[in-house]
Symmetry: C2
Subunit: 397 residues, 2 copies
Amino acid sequence: MRLTPAVELEYRCHKLQEYMQSALLDAVIIVQNADLFYFTGTVQSGNLYVPASGQPLYLVRKDAGRARMESGLKEVVPFGSIKDIPAVLAQYGYPLPKRIGLELDVLPVNFYKRYCGLFPNADFSDATPLVRKVRMIKSHYEIHLMKDAADQVDLVYRRAREVIRVGKTDIDVAAELEYAARKDGHQGLIRMRGFNSDICYGQIFSGTDSAVPAYADTPLGGMGLNPSFGQGAGLKRIEAHEPVIIDFAGCVDGYLCDQTRVFFVGKPSDRLRHAYDDMLEIQALMMRVVEVGMSWGTLYDICQSRAVQMGYADNFMGATGSQVSFIGHGLGIEIDEYPFIARGFHHMLLEEGMTFAFEPKAVFPGEGAIGIENTFYLSNEGFKRLTHSADELVILN
Amino acid sequence: MRLTPAVELEYRCHKLQEYMQSALLDAVIIVQNADLFYFTGTVQSGNLYVPASGQPLYLVRKDAGRARMESGLKEVVPFGSIKDIPAVLAQYGYPLPKRIGLELDVLPVNFYKRYCGLFPNADFSDATPLVRKVRMIKSHYEIHLMKDAADQVDLVYRRAREVIRVGKTDIDVAAELEYAARKDGHQGLIRMRGFNSDICYGQIFSGTDSAVPAYADTPLGGMGLNPSFGQGAGLKRIEAHEPVIIDFAGCVDGYLCDQTRVFFVGKPSDRLRHAYDDMLEIQALMMRVVEVGMSWGTLYDICQSRAVQMGYADNFMGATGSQVSFIGHGLGIEIDEYPFIARGFHHMLLEEGMTFAFEPKAVFPGEGAIGIENTFYLSNEGFKRLTHSADELVILN
């Protein structure tokens, strides 16, 4: 079990405070678990009060002892509820904040109203864009953890070569691979920020099921086991000559890596083989053109146009009617972080230290899906790949 | 894969409309996945518009085809975004609502603001208490699914007898049991409504780790694998004569059952053996006194007082400083539904059709935790138990 070094936490808080000063915020109150983990090094039931300058206060209801043990922050303050915040601020000589940032993309309304009642004279705004901007630049420490997650997805990939067989169900394959990841120390939980985003390790499905759209904001969907969680692996049996998609998120010590590979028992059809080569070409194109300073939307447009030019207007990133508007997504603690390699993001630029998964995929309804996904890193020594399983289609006998 | 019968959906919607009329709401807009599943029979990316009377409209962005296939609702309407809602209402001849209910306990602020912008002259209030009241009364169809989930946790319990061994780690045991559940059709995802509530199948831990408090609103916590998800199974190795807690939520076709059993390799200490018998006695007390019409808080008070009288003031439902204020929780689609067998709920009454998990547990820091959990049902033929594994401590050799 690795604890986030105190210097990491200090740097992260300092960056957030820089953004807060530009945004004229007096305080940001961090409430959501992924952000708490990032800024405190632990997840406890509590709030992190970050003033525009000075020490952040980690107010912890349960469990303060663990917060002291696991967090490198100097000030861990036991509290009963958010009603105690003004008194704690007074105790530390901190002024009452007038402009407060909260994570308004995830904070439920009823909680928000309590903060409004607590600071009746304050203005509230959304702190999440600032938090996302801090979090999108990964430190070497974070990259180190993501590399461990990349090793975990490679282990899953190698296990997939052993367990995919004709006649097995998709859920059987999913169970085997999740088991392998869990034995390797996968925490079981994938953090996804978006409201209503359900996820369980990833998405594993074969043939026609891999081409079924679902509610998830992902290029592929899948039937799932039931309409309560109608995505991912279902009860379909694997047949020869059809694609088996293994889209799996490794997670080690809270950090993710995302990878997709496609397996066939026997030969793929010419169409799918050809489409796979084309998706590899889009990956190669992305790797050739990507650079610091390019906008997220431009990188998306270049790759999207190439896919359309290749003839995939009705198949790329979903079949017509179910297409998603991104080809890549940042990841780290959550699987939907900045940057979004997505339509329209022309005002946001790629920066050194960013990581993102890039997943060109094509969907052919009634036949199946195909594509590739790797996790990449814009390091100060150039563009690197974190996931490292072989890119080739895996043909099993 | 079972589809929710249309008559179930009609009845549920009708009940909600009754509560809406009492609360003088013109419309409730259902947005959250668990509620969507309950009222539509599927989870798609969309909104369910429920007028105070008349047909509900299921507005679906992705995927309308699946919504039509999986939902028994008459009106599935493809839409692009919530901006289209007023036009759809006009098309159906529905008036613009003036008093609108939204799920304010889960809906993030940024989404809420979009609804406020869409209906600038409307009053908004929290529809979740109404939704919870509909959902807390289970139909025979729902009980049938929960019985399947009870069979699944029994399968996990039987597998636990085989895999718990001295020298194995808690995470190894968790991996084996999750694998067994997954092969049995567990959907992998446990729905928990509370903001920031993380859960992965349940909580599995041994000895001292079982007595470690965590951020979760659960009587036991556990170390977990890392501070990003610091609860549940960690790397501790099982030793002889210490408790191994298997608290597991089965999930079949979207419905849950929750059960806890305690295993020992070799004999337990006198203190833990004695405490286990006392927790069984509290379960027996609950089963003796529970009845339709009793308040949730009264049932809690009776059992809590008995625990204190027995000498567990510092151990019951957590060790001092980390105690939770409930002994039981409703469950069905989510693991934290009405009723709450919890402190203070004297205004809410037990009703026929309710299901809840009851989990008297005692925590001894530095030694371990012990207790039992079963899922119960207030049927029209009396109080019944859904989970059916043997209640005895399991002593393995």
